[in-house]
């Protein structure tokens, strides 16, 4: 019998009622008295020197309040980067300035040059069109490999080169890894591209800045996944506003997927301009602006090599990656291809020697940063693709090859600096084989054949590191922030309670799942519990939502705070019932004295806390409110096995996903329905990356997939019915709930399953295609099928010209 409340039950998401009936309160719903609107005049060239800006005509246009340029921000801090990576030689990365408005140079299409504040949005747009910007166009830096050659044009004139860092991990293992390759029985090599993506949350970014003349207080309303982080970064580093004079509010936020973690120029601008103009200033991104100003994701060009012995045991792994940073360093950009990527390279396998090299490169493109999975999909894709290729090359069954290399003993210290606490990779693989009905594949293959379709099967595993992260560890790795989470539990006199958490919810369902935990701990109905987040004025300092950390880290803080509440409530109950607090038990919302029939209701005790007439005032403060900060001891390590079955139309190259199954181990589960939904969404995004989505630039740095006419988002009819299972549970050993993160797994585990399946279909049909770069559009698959000799990324335009992957994942014709 499934539970109907508390941990393990699947109550419907309470927040969905307001989202689905149009009663949500999003940032764009906030309109302040007297607000003006800003329109950003953005660069339409990728790279150029600003010769002059003539604003004379624009300044006199109707409704114009003030026009700002980079000059207005000359004395103000730039947008900071929250992570400093140290390179192979022990030097800090190159860190360019990131002005709020372009100063001297424009560095990508979409770089804001001027900000026009006017009474109405159309007036601001009209005036922006009357501004004449004279730009000396410079050649665009687009190809990462060319960008790091001697003499390349530089994106930032004041840096030594376009190389942000050259990172080696673990540098001390490099020689041993190279030796192992020399001694290897078999080496499999694969060059591949992890395609650049645009996150495309349903709600575009919005910012409303406000400044109170009377108090000097600022408020920023913004579409953020982490308002406290914005308050700290923007207040301390950009505008010099102390945190006690700055409030940041992120109300309902319509999806983030990572791209709303970062601090953006538009937020700083609206806050700054509110004071400069003495009135609130609002910006709402258009979808077109979102394409060229939201941080993009992925964009790695990699070579991976896997060494095996004669028995098929992995002996060493070596990777070489170019990671696109774009024109500036977005808030957490440097961490994504390094720590969030390198530490994943062991995967589910006992490979003893691993060396990861990553060169991060500046180009004249939109900054690239974390997008659902952030580094971990890039790692998983390389690893699970190369293993598939190795299995084929050595005539082994891809599942058997994986199994023989599985890590089976926990805790397990990998050669890439992390220690997995728990996992059972055979269990998820067994479960997958069952739920995906692999036994029935041959029959389905035969049936597809009767319809002239090529069927293929792709299986892979994944492991990921989430629930980020121990502050002292990430501090050593270069993070300029801590990664704890906080919660304040405020119990009211009548027994209901409010949890104020730093974990921001923008679609994850915290308002439903978090109360399930607290309700279970106290034994009261979930509707007595309210979750409040997204406002620095009431939640304690928290680090926000990303890296699948909300329940594992934020939920743990909430548990700790609730434990403090229960401990204090027991003392109050003990006093009233004249017993020792050691003997008090709390169950089903009732305090009892062990071994007696004395009891007190939860509400009696909470009332006593606020009406302390019969109360141990000498020993205990009145009131019932507790705060906890929780800093995790380790990452959590969800893992699983995924299976995709595709059909390829041999005449057109079109791929359809026929079946998709996911067997995940997320440890303990609070709300199975929400977990299903998170996995579904993640898989949909993974399938989007694998089949559809391509953020493409041309040689001149023009974004050619700049709208939904050319950027293919996955739609419902691109998806099969998903079969997901999370009954394999090895609880996390180091957090109080035993939970692991589930938010990114689907996006991490699914792309290799799709690509493995397509390659399998083509190989079964006798086509010598070992790899096709994502997205596997019909045109690319068709080209690969019909040009089977140039099979390494045959469909990749970049690959075709040089014989090896060029340094860009971007664009051009299919």
């Amino acid at each position: 019998m499934p539970k109907d409340h508390g941990i393990g039950a699947s109550p419907k998401r309470r927040e969905d009622i307001r989202f689905l009936t149009g009663d949500g309160r999003y940032t764009d719903d906030i309109n302040l008295a007297g607000q003006a609107y800003v329109h950003f005049l953005r660069s339409d060239v990728a790279h150029g020197r600003i010769r002059s800006i003539d604003m004379a005509a624009a300044a006199g246009m109707p409704g114009v309040v003030r026009i700002f340029t980079g000059e207005d921000f000359a004395d103000i801090g730039g947008l900071p980067c929250g992570w400093c990576v140290t390179d192979r030689h022990g030097n800090p990365m190159q860190e360019p300035k990131h002005p709020v408005l372009a100063h001297g140079k424009v560095r990508h299409v979409g770089d804001p040059i001027c900000a026009v504040v006017a009474e109405t949005l159309s007036q601001a747009r009209d005036a922006a069109e009357a501004i004449v910007v004279d730009i000396e166009e410079l050649p665009a830096v687009i190809d990462m490999k060319k960008a790091v050659q001697d003499g390349a044009i530089k994106v930032h004139d004041d840096l030594a080169s376009n190389l942000c860092y050259d990172w080696g991990f673990i540098e001390d293992n490099k020689a041993a890894v190279d030796e192992a390759f020399k001694a290897a029985h078999h080496v499999t090599t694969l060059e591949l591209v992890n395609n650049r993506l645009i996150a495309n949350p349903m709600e575009p970014r919005v910012a409303v800045g406000q400044w109170e003349k009377g108090t000097g207080d600022y408020t920023l309303y913004t579409t953020s996944q982490n308002p406290h982080v914005i308050r700290l970064l923007m207040g301390a580093f950009v505008l010099g506003i102390p945190e006690h004079k700055l409030r940041v509010v992120s109300p309902d936020v319509g999806g983030g997927f990572g791209t709303k973690i970062f601090h953006y120029a538009e937020e700083a601008f609206c806050t700054f301009a509110a004071k400069a103009c003495r009135r609130p200033v609002k910006w709402t991104s258009s979808r077109s602006e979102a394409f060229m100003s939201d941080a993009h994701g992925r964009d790695h060009v990699s070579k991976i090599e896997l060494a095996m012995d004669a028995e098929g045991m992995f002996t060493a792994l070596r990777t070489d990656t170019y990671a696109n940073m774009g024109a500036y360093l977005s808030t957490f950009a440097p961490s994504v291809p390094t720590w969030l990527h390198g530490i994943l390279m062991a995967g589910n396998y006992k490979t003893p020697l691993i060396y990861v090299n990553v060169k991060a490169v500046f180009t004249n493109t939109v900054p690239v940063d974390a997008y659902r999975g952030a580094g971990r999909p890039e790692a998983t894709y390389q690893l699970e693709r190369v293993i598939d290729k190795a299995a084929r090359e050595t005539g082994r069954d891809p599942i058997a090859l994986r199994r023989q290399n599985f890590i089976t003993e926990f805790p397990y210290a990998t050669p890439v600096a992390v220690e997995y606490d728990t996992g059972d990779y055979h269990a998820t693989m067994d479960k997958l084989i069952e739920i995906a009905d692999l036994a029935g594949f041959d029959a389905r293959l035969a049936e597809s054949k009767t319809r002239g379709k090529l069927r293929g099967l792709g299986v892979n595993c994944y492991i990921e590191a989430c629930g980020i992260a121990p502050s002292n560890l990430v501090g050593q790795l270069g993070a300029r922030a801590g990664l704890y989470e906080s919660a304040t539990v405020r119990v009211n006199a009548t027994g209901g309670l409010v949890v104020m958490t730093g974990s921001h919810s923008h679609g994850q369902g915290h308002e439903t799942a978090f109360p399930q935990v607290v309700a279970d701990m106290i034994g009261i109905p979930e509707d007595m519990i309210e979750i409040v987040h997204g406002d620095t004025a009431n939640a304690p300092m928290g680090m926000g939502t990303y890296g699948s950390r909300s329940l594992a880290v934020g939920g743990s803080a909430m548990v700790r705070a609730t434990e403090k509440i229960i401990a204090k409530a027991k003392k109050i109950a003990a006093h009233i019932m004249e017993a020792s607090d050691q003997d008090i038990e709390l169950k089903d919302g009732k305090f009892t004295v062990a071994g007696t029939d004395k009891s007190l209701a939860w509400g009696d005790v909470t009332l006593a806390a606020y009406v302390p007439h019969n109360y141990p005032l000498k020993d205990l403060e009145p009131g019932l409110e507790e705060t906890a900060f929780y800093d995790p001891n380790n990452f959590t390590y969800p893992s699983g096995a995924y299976c995709c079955e595709v059909e390829v139309d041999p005449d057109t190259g079109k791929v359809t996903i026929e079946r998709f199954a996911a067997a995940d181990d997320f440890g303990n589960i609070i709300n199975p329905m929400i977990v299903d939904g998170q996995v579904h969404g993640g898989i949909a995004q993974g399938i989007g990356q694998a089949l559809l989505e391509a953020c493409a630039y041309d040689e001149n740095g023009q974004l050619i997939s700049a709208s939904y006419m050319d950027y293919a988002m996955p739609r419902a009819d691109d998806m099969p019915m998903f079969t997901v299972d999370h009954s394999c549970q090895t609880p996390c050993t180091h957090n109080p709930l035993g939970v692991k993160g589930c938010g990114e797994a689907g996006a991490i585990g699914s792309p290799p399953a799709v690509v493995n399946a397509v390659c399998d279909a083509l190989q079964r049909a006798g086509k010598n295609v070992t790899h096709i770069d994502m997205p596997l559009s019909p045109a690319r698959v068709w080209a690969a099928m019909n040009d089977a000799t140039a099979n390494e990324g045959a469909a990749q335009p970049a690959a075709r010209s040089s014989g090896s992957a060029e340094g860009r994942s971007l664009g051009g014709q299919a």
């Binding site: 159309s122 747009r125 009209d126 069109e129 077109s288 005449d651 057109t652 079109k654 089949l691 559809l692 391509a694 493409a696 050619i704 997939s705 939904y708 006419m709 050319d710 950027y711 293919a712 988002m713 559009s777 019909p778 045109a779 068709w782 080209a783 664009g811 051009g812 014709q813 299919a814």
Partner: protein
């Protein structure tokens, strides 16, 4: 979007008169024009909405058995008719319900997007485009990407479709926009077969005459076996090379023939 005036005439004559204004532009369902205006890529000073003109809406048959569709008829209405099933199927796959409930056939043919669906149906069906001033054979109407025989201010009031014995439209969707990457309309009449291709050519919709000849002799996909379309002049973009499009033309033509039966 820039500010503009809007008029809603109720008769064709009033609309024609209103369109004499230099600044004026016809507004059909607005499914192409409004997004263009929002992007500030078009800036008509005055929009003349055709949506209130009853005489431009509806579907009828004439004495020659042709299906006569008012220029202001929506894709949704065309999808719902059953006299010309291949045309109904085509209309039912344009955009989404909102697009189909507003967008009109007159707007689509007047716009002549190189990836629009109706132009292929018009050309393959040997339709006649009727305007407030004249009748134009489809063969003379579509003059290249976004170019038609329409004069300034001329309104498409009706499209007359001879109904073929058998017909089918195959749309191979561009993955992002879901407009046709290649769309092929095949229509079999007693006096021969017509094949029109959209989405593929830099010159806009065109007839594939070799296929027409071959299919007029033998209406089966096998009749296409020895034919090939040249990639010259085909659109090459993010979603497919000219060679790929040329290949798809043959595949989609074969499928249309098979489906038409």
């Amino acid at each position: 979007m820039y500010a503009f005036e809007m008029e809603r005439p109720e008769t064709l004559a009033d609309a024609v008169a209103a369109l004499k204004d230099e600044e004026a532009q016809a507004l059909g369902g607005g499914q192409t024009l409004i997004p263009t205006m929002k992007q500030r890529l078009a800036q008509p000073g005055r929009l003349i909405s055709l949506a209130g003109i009853a005489e431009m809406k509806g579907i009828d048959s004439d004495d020659d058995g042709r299906l006569c569709i008012g220029g202001g008829t929506t894709h949704g209405a065309i999808a719902a008719q059953s006299d010309y099933p291949a045309l109904a199927a085509l209309a039912s796959r344009i955009g989404d319900p909102a697009v189909r409930n507003r967008g009109t056939i007159g707007g689509s043919v007047a716009n002549n997007d190189p990836s629009a669906c109706y132009p292929a149906a018009c050309l393959a069906s040997n339709a006649t485009i009727v305007t407030n001033a004249r009748e134009i054979a489809a063969d003379d109407f579509f003059l290249g990407m976004f170019t038609t025989a329409l004069e300034e201010g001329e309104i498409v009031t009706e499209v007359r479709f001879p109904v073929p014995e058998a017909a089918n439209y195959q749309k191979f969707a561009q993955p992002a926009s879901r407009f046709p990457l290649v769309g092929v309309f095949v229509a079999k009449f007693s006096d021969g077969v017509r094949v029109a291709v959209t989405g593929a050519s830099e010159g806009g919709v065109f007839r594939w005459s070799e296929a027409e000849t071959a299919l007029s002799d033998n209406f089966s996909a096998a009749a296409l076996d020895d034919l090939n379309v040249s990639a010259d002049g085909m659109i090459s973009d993010l979603h497919g090379s000219g060679a790929y499009r040329a290949h798809l033309i043959k595949v989609m033509t074969g499928r249309a023939v098979t489906a038409a039966g």
